[in-house]
């Protein structure tokens, strides 16, 4: 249990996917303009990350490894994620229209989101078991959510500011992201201190 909590804390705060590992930068920069779409996108990412991890972990362990086909990992994972996103979209549209209206927009954008493929591969690279993988996926998604929500607040301020002309738009956004990333350095060592290692 302690191990799982430490995996979760590490994924949300210390190894934040966006701010420390640079995964999922495109939605971080593109969709963080207002709080509503930032929240919607993040919830869709958390949902797909957990689902994709559950499916790909099982496929890897029970289909690829016994047949010695680990080299197909990349091809299989991206296909599974793409198919999964489509299925979820169809299922939501049919069964839970309210949820579809809230999240449906963001789902097609997630297929090519490197954070989702990244988390499924990272889980296997680190040799996580099923429970740890799921917790890591949840934590990575929550970390994405945290970064998006904080950053949409920052964007709200930078949008109305007047920087020098060449810095308008993306450069200013990136430099604000740099400062946010620097502030996350404050969490360094938190897991070691709380859980002894």
């Amino acid at each position: 249990m302690v191990k799982l909590i430490s995996v979760l804390m590490a994924a949300v705060l210390v190894n934040n996917y966006v701010l420390r590992q640079f995964l999922g930068i495109c939605p971080f920069l593109g969709v963080s303009k207002d709080l509503k779409s930032a929240t919607g996108m993040s919830i869709a990412v958390i949902f797909v990350m957990c689902l994709a991890t559950a499916v790909t972990w099982c496929i890897h362990m029970y289909l690829l490894v016994p047949r010695g086909m680990e080299y197909l990992q990349t091809v299989v994972f991206i296909l599974v994620i793409a198919a999964l996103v489509q299925l979820v979209e169809i299922a939501l549209k049919k069964n839970i229209p309210a949820l579809y209206r809230a999240l449906g927009v963001y789902l097609p954008l997630i297929t090519t989101n490197c954070a989702v493929l990244g988390v499924t591969i990272a889980n296997l690279d680190r040799g996580y078991g099923f429970a740890e993988s799921m917790v890591n996926a949840l934590g990575s998604g929550l970390g994405f959510f945290l970064a998006m929500v904080i950053f949409s607040g920052v964007r709200y301020r930078t949008e109305t500011s007047e920087p020098p002309k060449p810095f308008e738009g993306l450069p200013l956004t990136l430099i604000s992201a740099s400062i946010l990333s620097l502030s996350f350095f404050g969490f360094n060592g938190i897991v070691e201190n709380l859980f002894g290692g």
């Binding site: 590992q21 991206i78 793409a82 097609p108």
Partner: protein, 225 residues
């Protein structure tokens, strides 16, 4: 002339990273060391050229409705080839690139060029376009990695630089340094090119394969807005 412009376009005028702003994730992540940056750039260039050639050759065969999944499978296949070759012949680079190597699959430069160029143009033009974009990507990565490695770590391609070795700005080699160097580089390119953007211009998202979906819902397409 037009063939030449297919090649050179990607290097400066439509530089995939600094002008089209695609492939930001690997750019920020592997630009801590010049040697990793070159390795990543060459790996992506190989995938880009191969996928552009095959997609362009098959452009009349692949049905329009399932083209994106087809492209992704093709690209993933070439990425797997690169992974296996690097694991066999350049193991240290394979380890250094780590998770970012399989993530070439979802690098928007590659899917973006397939969607924007290779499925409309002849094989030879697509190959040149892929090569040009790949060179542009590699050069940008090299410039960024050089800045970060020289100022941050005081080395270049692992060679120590006398005074900087002891006076590095170590934050540049860490995550915040990536964002700040990238931001300043884009600002520099804006300054040099003095781009006058049309307000209706879709801004930085023009090259992104998801741009259509985004703009349909009034998102994205306005990073610059």
């Amino acid at each position: 002339m037009s063939k030449l412009s297919n090649l050179t376009r990607g290097i400066i005028r439509e530089n995939p990273v600094l002008v089209l702003v695609l492939g930001t994730c690997p750019t920020l992540a592997v630009s801590t060391q010049a040697s990793n940056a070159v390795g990543m750039g060459l790996a992506a260039t190989f995938v880009l050229v191969c996928s552009n050639i095959v997609i362009s050759a098959l452009r009349n065969i692949i049905p329009d409705k399932v083209r994106i999944p087809c492209y992704i499978v093709l690209i993933a296949g070439f990425v797997t080839v690169v992974q296996m070759v690097l694991e066999a012949y350049a193991y240290s680079l394979f380890k250094a690139l780590g998770i970012y190597l399989p993530l070439i699959v979802v690098n928007c430069i590659i899917l973006g060029r397939a969607e924007m160029f290779a499925n409309k143009n002849r094989v030879i033009d697509s190959a040149l376009d892929g090569l040009g974009m790949g060179i542009g990507f590699t050069l940008t990565l090299l410039v960024m990695a050089s800045i970060r490695e020289i100022l941050g770590g005081g080395t270049w391609f692992g060679m120590p630089i006398p005074w900087l070795r002891d006076n590095g700005i170590s934050v540049l080699t860490m995550a915040p340094g990536g964002f700040i160097v990238f931001g300043c580089l884009i600002a520099l390119v804006n300054k040099i090119m003095d781009r006058k953007r049309n307000p209706k211009d879709k801004g930085y998202c023009v090259g992104c394969p998801s741009a259509d979906t985004c703009s349909k819902f009034g998102m994205g397409g306005e990073i610059n807005g």
